[in-house]
């Protein structure tokens, strides 16, 4: 099944669902003929689409709205915060091409601060599926919830079979390890999986956690891996500020715990645009580079 098939099926079964886009039809190109007047394209008007979604939600609809991640999360931000957030309305934001997935587009299109922005809105839930299989497993629960939500869409094919059922506020623990645990979300899950396997091959005990629900976040898992692993690694295609690294830091402080945490994130600059594989390589986010950097860090900082 694809994202579009799932959304079509959901909308046909539940007439409350309306599908909206700000002229970003890649994910929903077949929906006009299937949904009729419950498919609404407002044109290149992210803020107006969000306001209208709030109006539709006021009338009892559940709008699933589509736009490019950078414009949805920033151009429409005050509308999301003010109309959807203060209204606490069940508007479902499908944020397309976030983070590194915007590979060749350049900094105007890079949503690398979206997690920080969205989790700052009190009623907003934030989800980051690893790949298409993870996404499809998560969406029915997210769409059925009464809360507004932001979903960082990834339709990359899965390289891991996600067997753990999705629950809002729960991470997916892929493996547990005492030397190092990698916490990751979104498309970088596949690189983290490669890194974990390489480290394991080198004899390390490695944990890997798919942080698919960033708000509410699985504090139990964070505290558990921080207590049980010598090194905790966060991996994200987002600025260092306000994303997973910040979430881990805030959680540790809240419970008055400490841990050795190594972040992989964008540090103070947008990434260099290129084909995705080259971006990952250039920015140091391939599985092999992550594994290598972790080993170097372990050797330098956690000897004996």
């Amino acid at each position: 099944m694809t994202y579009e098939e799932l959304l079509t099926q959901t909308a046909l079964a539940d007439e409350r669902v309306v599908v909206m886009t700000a002229e970003n039809r890649a994910l929903v190109r077949n929906m006009p003929k299937n949904l009729g007047n419950r498919f609404i394209d407002t044109g290149i008007t992210e803020q107006t689409m969000i306001g209208a979604a709030a109006g539709l939600a006021l009338r009892g609809r559940t709008p699933v709205v589509h736009a490019l991640a950078a414009f949805l999360s920033m151009r429409a931000y005050e509308f999301i915060r003010t109309d959807v957030g203060i209204g606490n309305l069940p508007v479902k934001l499908s944020s397309f091409i976030p983070g590194f997935l915007s590979d060749g587009n350049g900094p105007t299109h890079q949503a690398v601060e979206d997690i920080a922005l969205m989790r700052g809105i009190p009623n907003m839930q934030v989800f980051c599926p690893a790949d298409e299989q993870d996404l499809l497993q998560m969406l029915p629960t997210i769409w059925a919830s009464k809360s507004p939500s932001y979903v960082r869409i990834s339709t990359r094919p899965a390289t891991y079979q996600h067997n753990q059922p999705f629950e809002i506020g729960c991470a997916e623990v892929v493996s547990r390890g005492s030397d190092v645990t990698i916490l990751v979300y979104g498309m970088l899950f596949e690189q983290a999986l490669i890194a974990a396997n390489l480290l394991r091959h080198d004899g390390y005990s490695v944990g890997l956690v798919n942080m698919r629900s960033l708000k509410p976040v699985d504090e139990t898992v964070i505290l558990e891996v921080c207590a049980n692993s010598d090194l905790v690694v966060t991996v994200e295609d987002h600025f260092l500020t306000g994303g997973l690294y910040s979430i881990v830091a805030e959680t540790l402080l809240k419970y008055r715990k400490t841990a050795h945490v190594l972040p992989f994130a964008l540090k103070g600059k947008w990434y260099k645009p290129a084909r995705l594989n080259e971006v990952l390589e250039h920015e140091g986010f391939t599985g092999a580079q992550i594994a290598q950097a972790i080993i170097e860090h372990l050797v330098e900082n956690l000897a004996d």
Binding site: N37, T42, G51, G60, E78, F79
Partner: protein, 285 residues
């Protein structure tokens, strides 16, 4: 509209203006802005919109969205006169004891949505109007905008989208008092010719005297006055209407009067004499 209805509208508007003046102290409110919209608000609730106390949450009701949030005292006053809001609650204006403050809050019965950030409710009202169309429901949806608010690009986006979706159940009412917060509109960001702007964006447009109930009624008794498109009513109004001592003045937008001044202004409203005002004349925000 018969003469009895006209007299009732005039009496109600006078009472609403009294409420606004009484709210213009102990912290104050957007007095000038509220008084310009008073007649519009009173007319819309009493003659145009199908909303009653019992149907405030009925999905079949008509809707009024106040995008120009500063006018909310006119809404509170109208709600009191309609019997939706106990008058004592107006004494709680700006108190944590109640939910009545400078901008609309949905906790107050009758307020459809919060506002205050400008240029938002045209699109929220658009969403509601869109759903009424999808649902085949004949509700009317009104959104009151300030003329200064027309600086916001999102207003014009909403006009384009509303026309694209042929939302002739949606009415934008522009409270055209020729002032934005601190400045006359035409001195800061000129808007005229305003009718032409909306026409060029594809809307059906009428321009009327926003204080003349007969003209308002003649114009809106046929609605939509143009089918298949957004309807826009530009209502020419005066900031501070009803109080000669503050009327049409840039520096009487937000007012915080002393209790003596409030009493003098209430007398002025009833044509007794012109009030002498010593409070600071300009509150720039």
């Amino acid at each position: 509209m018969n003469s009895e209805q006209l007299t009732d509208l005039q009496k109600t508007a006078l009472k609403v203006r009294e409420h606004i003046i009484r709210m213009s102290t102990d912290g104050g409110c957007f007095t000038g802005a509220s008084l310009s919209a008073t007649d519009l608000v009173v007319y819309l609730y009493k003659q145009f919109l199908n909303i009653k106390k019992e149907t405030l949450n009925d999905p079949g009701r008509d809707y009024l969205f106040l995008s120009k949030g500063h006018d909310v005292p006119a809404l509170y006053g109208t709600f009191v006169e309609l019997g939706w809001l106990p008058v004592e609650r107006l004494n709680n204006h700006l108190s944590t004891r109640d939910s009545i403050y400078w901008h609309p809050n949905v906790i107050v019965p009758g307020i459809e949505f919060h506002s205050g950030s400008l240029g938002h409710l045209p699109s929220v009202a658009l969403g509601v109007a869109l759903d009424c169309k999808i649902a085949g429901s004949p509700n009317k949806v009104v959104c009151i905008l300030g003329d200064g608010e027309l600086n916001e690009g999102s207003v014009w986006e909403a006009v384009l989208v509303a026309n694209a979706y042929k939302l002739d159940n949606l009415l934008f009412v522009v409270d055209r008092n020729f002032f934005q917060a601190n400045m006359p509109t035409e001195e800061l960001i000129p808007l005229e010719p305003l009718v032409d702007k909306f026409l060029a964006f594809g809307a059906g447009v009428k321009r009327v005297d926003g204080h003349d109930f007969t003209v308002l009624d003649d114009t809106l008794s046929i609605f939509p006055f143009q089918s298949g498109k957004l309807n826009v009513l530009i209502a020419d109004t005066r900031r501070g209407k009803g109080l000669p001592s503050i009327e049409a003045r840039a520096d009487r937008w937000f007012c915080n009067f002393t209790h003596d001044e409030v009493n003098a202004l209430l007398a002025e409203l009833h044509g007794e004499h012109t009030a002498t005002l010593e409070s600071e004349t300009l509150v720039v925000r």
